[in-house]
Symmetry: C2
Subunit: 211 residues, 2 copies
């Protein structure tokens, strides 16, 4: 029997480097993971393609998906809406792939409600000063947006206790391997091996009875 | 600040190969782990040395340790008593070492009560038939003892749900690396990084206030 994949939610402060980490995880282990593609109403940044980084939707299209219950979760973040299309995630999990959702904290908590055995990871730079430095160096946003992101980071930092793991993104490669190890170990959780444990118990019972 | 070590309890059916796995884990990562040495009233097997595999005690000596509260837990298993001397475990954890307790299921549950953040691993052979084969092949015990161990395994299998991880010992090397990975990932648990998370939150709050 093919084991069902693990649903892993990855969050982190804007500027923590989540996108880069996820891209590298997928590059190293393409057959293990599937990255959920979010829908969003924000405009593509330079180099982003519809259906690759995001499904870029109009507000009307986004609202239609909500109305038809085609999103696992959705939320408003700064000025835009983000959501997780349901169909793709369920298909990949059934196929035994570990599905990564890169979503913000409100969405992560909604996923945990619907899927109590989802694994929640929070990625952070080693310090707040380093977070600010990365946001400034990215050079894609004006100062008032950066300040809004830092303010948001402060708010989000109060939700970290809802996550399972806190992963520092200092060196990219270390961070990628740490996440890979965490998801890998999750496969050995007692709660994910109920069938196997049941079978061994039944077999032991048979041996005791001299079957 | 040196981080406190992780207390890991390893249990498993008698014959699962716990001893061999632990010995190999310590051989590969001697600076990371400290193996707690249990006290027992059972007689040494051939090749076992007092103070290495166990502290071999008389029943009177064992009862004196109980009376003086020098054991973290103790239990009777088949005909003999086993217990975990307290002082060594606490000293190694303070020094930042991950301490492994190889104890049976009753003791594991007592440890979890006293140390709620202890990590509980259960090691099992791939099947009950394989467990029986290993016990018979060991050739150190009479058939009625093997039967008692299998009966005991059946009872113990009902307690696996109290553990965090279920690790299959099929190939020694894989099993050792899996345990090493599980304990390593545990260091990134949110619950074990409260100080770090607190510091980042405070720092973000300072940046928001323009400090």
């Amino acid at each position: 029997m093919e084991k069902k994949g693990i649903l892993t939610v990855v969050s982190g402060f804007s500027g923590a480097g989540k996108g880069t980490v996820m891209k590298e995880l997928l590059r190293r282990y393409p057959s293990r993971y599937a990255l959920s593609i979010s829908a969003t109403t924000r405009k593509p940044r330079e180099g982003e393609t519809n259906g690759i980084e995001y499904f870029f939707l109009t507000t009307e299209e986004f609202e239609k998906m909500i109305a038809e219950d085609e999103l696992l979760e959705y939320a408003r973040y700064v000025e835009h809406c983000y959501g997780t299309p349901k169909a793709y995630v369920e298909k990949q999990l059934q196929a035994g792939k570990d599905v990564i959702l890169e979503i913000e904290i409100q969405g992560a908590l909604k996923i945990k409600e619907k899927f109590p055995d989802a694994l929640l990871l929070f990625i952070s730079p080693p310090s707040a000063a380093e977070l600010k430095r990365r946001l400034v160096n990215r050079g894609t946003e004006e100062m008032h947006v950066i300040e809004a992101r830092l303010k948001r980071a402060e708010e989000e930092s109060c939700g970290i206790e809802n996550y399972d793991y806190f992963v520092i993104n200092d060196k990219l490669s270390d961070c990628v391997e740490e996440i890979h190890a965490i998801v890998g170990c999750e496969r050995s959780r007692v709660s994910r091996n109920a069938d196997l444990i049941y079978n061994i118990r039944e077999e032991l019972s048979g041996i005791s009875k001299g079957e």
